[in-house]
Amino acid sequence: MINITEHLPVLIIVISLMSAAIIPIAGRFNRHYSWYITVAVTFVSFLISISLLNRVLNTGKISYWLGGWQPPWGIEYVLDYLNIFILLIVSFIAFIVSLYARHSIEKEIAEHKISTFYSVYMLFIAGLMGMTLTGDLFNLYVFIEISSLAAYTLIAVGRKRNALMASYNYLILGTIAATFILLGIGYLYMVTGTLNMADLRELLPPLYESKVVLTAFAFFTVGLSLKLALFPLHIWLPNAYTHAPSVVSAIMAATSTKVGAYVLLRIMFTVFKVEFDLEVVPVTKILLVLSSVAIIAGSVLAIAQTNIKRMLAYSSVGQIGYIVLGAALINQTAMTGSLIHILNHAIMKGTLFLVIGAVVYKTGIEDISGLRGMGKKMPYSMAAFTIAALSMIGIPLTVGFVSKWYIAMGALNAGMWYFVPIILLSSLLTAVYFWRIIESIYFEDANTEPQNAEYSQIRNPDDAPLGMLIPTLILAGLCLFFGVAAFLPVSIAEKAASMLLGGM
């Protein structure tokens, strides 16, 4: 008999991939089956990632050999404190969003496309989890392409025709990014003859001065920055998030750029050593500058938007800046802050996009004006929105405060105090663009413009259906829970940070 628990690291990906094939078939019998399967599979993968977390906490690093082939010849899946943390975020958000998806998707997507939508959704999740788990560079490339291809498709099913162009532009840029990464992998393979990340870590140090290795690193950094939408390379993101269906905006904002950030950390700090980033190339200096620009520019651009999804997208650009800033400061506190911010931003942006999805479900309006007076009509959704918005600003007792605190302390520890005003300024700008919305939600009368007139007639509270409300409230609750009980994620993030900075 095979021992199932031993194979969990690969099963979590296999069940998602298999379900992507089964869902369209089941959907032929009954459209609702495809949703049931999606929820069941994402729930099982969430349970698996909890059990893996348990094993990592007890026994340390897990290494799984695919097909029993010994690395570096075979493909290896590695689980350590860093990627179990990311895996938990991805599988949890995937579960919550799939719970939410049912009503929203039925309204936003043509009926005959629903079961294939869930199938592509599962492919997307499988790709992200594969990127997180793998310890092999070429396998990483394949998973990047799986998740990106699924993402292009998910964006393209948006209701307006602009979604198609958004998806096409993302496809062009995403392919450039992936091909750059492929080229980087090729360079590293040329000089070392291996694709295994742990093996590369051992073999690379004597070659750090080699031009080939430097070029490889440059290609990786540029390719991954495109994937995670670091400031000057973010142009695909606002259109993609704006025109995609609400569910897709939520899942992409909460997971896909975060996994991109994780891969950047993995390449910068475990394939290459910290000494390389500090001494050989000035990559941290470049990233520090770019991320500070991203933090400010993202917030400023967000203020200028009238479409609320586009505003949240620009705010994402700024928040990605925080993650990269924390990582590029290279010290324990800032790195911890950066890792917690990956979790926190996933929760906050997830909540915000889910609430907007509920508003679109009820009124069909994506403009900020559509939220006027909603505090009376959709009280629970708007409460969730307010919590997440306060958290984005960084009010104490919410998650946003914790990560900003860690990153600011890290900047002080590194002797770079000038990043603290940048963080403060950006929090202020965030307050500007969220406060005008909160104000119009609670203190303005309902929108009576013709496009919203029908909905304004409704006098009583008329919140989203429970199937959408419960997942939103769970995420909003977590914004508060992890803001108070911050020690839970911090304890894992600290171990991951010291692993990244100190060696395996």
């Binding site: 291809l149 392919t175 091909t179 492929l182 080229l183 090729g186």
Partner: protein, 139 residues
């Protein structure tokens, strides 16, 4: 100098191809031409991989013929996978272009952007049928 050009001619070819493809992806206005550029761009990287596997006078790496000097098979295998990926990307891109043509009636980027900017944000039609209702679609 001669050594740099002649001796490494495979690299020069892939660099040239890569830049041609990259240029087409960025500068061309026609969506299909962009995809052609993307294919050239990717193929350049594939050729680069294959050329690194070359061993002078090497044979095919077949175990039972006891080949002593053989070309490195691994890059070939990797590129087989990468070709599959590239074909899928092309397929998705072409499918998207078909949908774009149906929705806008053109595949020239300039015209599409113009049309996208002209239409202000209309009321989102929540419907369950085909999501695109455009007057401009040439039937």
């Amino acid at each position: 100098m001669i050594e740099l050009i002649i001796g490494k001619y495979t690299y020069w070819i892939s660099i040239t191809l890569m830049m041609i493809g990259f240029y087409a992806m960025i500068a061309k206005g026609n969506l299909i031409k962009k995809i052609i550029g993307m294919n050239i761009f990717q193929t350049a990287v594939f050729l680069f991989y294959i050329s690194t596997a070359m061993v002078k006078d090497g044979t095919a790496p077949i175990l039972w013929q006891k080949a002593n000097l053989y070309v490195n098979p691994l890059p070939h295998v990797l590129i087989l996978t990468a070709i599959v990926v590239s074909v899928s990307v092309t397929a998705v891109a072409l499918a998207l272009i078909i949908r774009i043509y149906k929705a806008y009636g053109t595949i020239e980027e300039e015209q599409i952007l113009k049309m996208a900017n002209e239409t202000p944000n209309p009321k989102l039609v929540v419907n369950k049928g085909e999501p695109f209702q455009t007057p401009n679609t040439a039937k």
